[in-house]
């Protein structure tokens, strides 16, 4: 039986999809701004955040409204509560993209400390994880959600490599590089935090699909 409720759930689904696209774009642009030393692009990331904040509020309101009006059960309930959580995670991710843009503005006029290789790689991992998590949400794809969780160790490794290089090869050897190296360290840390938020989304998606809580219980990921 087709329900009017399904149309409203579909609208919510589309809004979350839009939120995911905005968050993904914010990360992409923030790292592009760093690579291209593009002040305007960095500023655009900061300016666009207000719109993302507003969309977060709209989605939250829609979720509360659907719960109040329909008193959803079972998979409908899991979809809406997961949607609310994902919405908040995506807004945090967009905020972190703003942090990256702000760090970029700090160093954009100074000579580049080193060619950027691993930070763009880490940014790619983060973007891929977000896209995967949102696709898993939209398509109810358990395997994709699992893959997203597995990717987090790759992000941790890259962050460690970047951190080690900046500290040992630059800050320890030449103290004058510290102001620029610290900004890059922070950016690497921000990107790694984005991956952490994305794993939260993947865990929520697994709950939504299978009603199985894997958050804080990684061993349950192996259960079919």
């Amino acid at each position: 039986m087709e329900r009017h409720f399904d149309h409203e759930l579909n609208d919510l689904n589309n809004d979350i999809l839009r939120m995911g696209a905005f968050a993904e774009e914010a990360i992409y642009k923030s790292v592009e701004a760093l690579k291209a030393r593009d002040r305007e692009l960095a500023q655009a990331v900061i300016d666009q955040d207000t719109m993302i904040d507003q969309l977060e509020l709209i989605i939250d309101e829609k979720c509360i409204d659907l719960i109040a009006r329909y008193q959803p059960m079972a998979k409908d309930l899991r979809f809406i509560t997961t949607g609310m959580k994902i919405n908040n995670e995506l807004e945090r991710i967009a905020d972190i993209a703003v942090d990256i843009a702000q760090r970029t503005l700090e160093i954009v006029d100074k000579p580049l400390l080193k060619p950027l290789i691993d930070i763009p790689k880490l940014a790619q991992v983060a973007q891929k994880m977000i896209k995967g998590a949102i696709d898993a949400f939209v398509n109810n794809d358990m395997d994709l959600a699992r893959q997203v969780l597995m990717s987090d160790s790759e992000a941790d490794q890259l962050r460690n490599i970047i951190q080690k290089e900046l500290i040992e090869d630059y800050m320890v050897k030449d103290g004058s590089t510290a102001p620029r190296a610290v900004q890059l360290l922070l950016i690497a840390r921000f990107l790694e935090r984005i991956c952490d938020h994305t794993t939260n989304i993947a865990e929520d998606v697994i709950y939504m699909i299978q009603a199985k809580v894997v958050k804080h219980h990684p061993e349950r990921l192996q259960d079919k």
């Binding site: 039986m1 059960m73 079972a74 409908d76 899991r78 009603a211």
Partner: protein, 250 residues
């Protein structure tokens, strides 16, 4: 601990197979909700527990229904004792056309209690347990038919409690009540849970979710799924349960 256990329970109304191989265990001092679409057999199942279906022509039952370990479907069951132990509250409150006092002591008198002081104590205790004492203590001789719908339903519950049952069966007990009265009856059910096993049949899924500890979902005479209410309403295991509770069935 299980209060009522059904094993391979089948029931026919003449040719119509109304209950099909129902296996279930209803726990003591808990509220169990039975949900399902109209005609699925939930009221029939409830009525098996105090043999109310015996009044229906052409009814035939087999399997076992154990209450405290004793099969109530055998020919030796004393129905008066059974219905004292397993009382029933109906959809429409049905007080007798007697005074409030006489309604409450009616069952007790049938069971042989005649001492006025003893009956007074029972009336006070029963009305207190359904939170009606303060409202009605000064008009015990008024007709029960003058009460509001909610008060009548509470009175019917008090009338059951007066004969000290162990199981309360409730068949859509709030379907004629407004939301406030429904909320108060639900609060009463929570109060009563510590002393009785309660089984409620309801069409109102939100009510089942709010008030019960365990839930069973029935469809076409079968008990499809039975489990903790918190799990049935967030993560049902059977697709048919999922479709019914999310409104996709039908």
């Amino acid at each position: 601990m299980s209060k009522i256990v059904t094993k391979k329970l089948n029931l026919w109304y003449s040719q119509f197979h109304a209950l099909k191989d129902v296996h279930a265990s209803f726990e003591d001092k808990r509220i169990t909700a039975i949900i399902g679409p109209s005609g699925c057999g939930k009221s029939t199942l409830l009525r098996v527990f105090n043999r109310m279906n015996d009044f229906v022509d052409g009814v035939r039952t087999d399997g076992e229904v154990l209450i405290d370990g004793e099969d109530i479907l055998n020919g030796r069951t004393d129905l008066v004792t059974l219905r004292k132990k397993v009382g029933m509250v109906f959809q429409r409150p049905n007080p007798f056309p007697l005074s409030i006092y006489e309604n409450i002591v009616f069952g007790k008198k049938i069971h042989g209690e005649t001492k006025r002081e003893q009956l007074d104590i029972i009336v006070e205790k029963s009305l207190k347990s359904v939170l009606l004492w303060d409202e009605l203590k000064d008009k015990l001789n008024s007709s029960a038919l003058l009460l509001s719908l909610e008060q009548k339903q509470r009175l019917c519950i008090a009338r059951l409690i007066a004969v000290q049952p162990e199981v309360l069966l409730m068949d859509e007990p709030c379907s004629t009540l407004d939301p406030q009265a429904t909320a108060r009856i639900e609060e009463l059910m929570r109060e009563l849970k510590s002393n009785y096993s309660i089984i409620i049949v309801t069409h109102n899924m939100q009510q089942a979710a709010r008030v019960s500890d365990d839930t069973g979902f029935m469809l076409l005479g079968e008990l499809i799924e039975f489990g903790k209410t918190s799990e049935i309403f967030t993560a049902p295991k059977d697709r048919r349960t999922e479709e019914y509770i999310t409104g996709r069935y039908g």
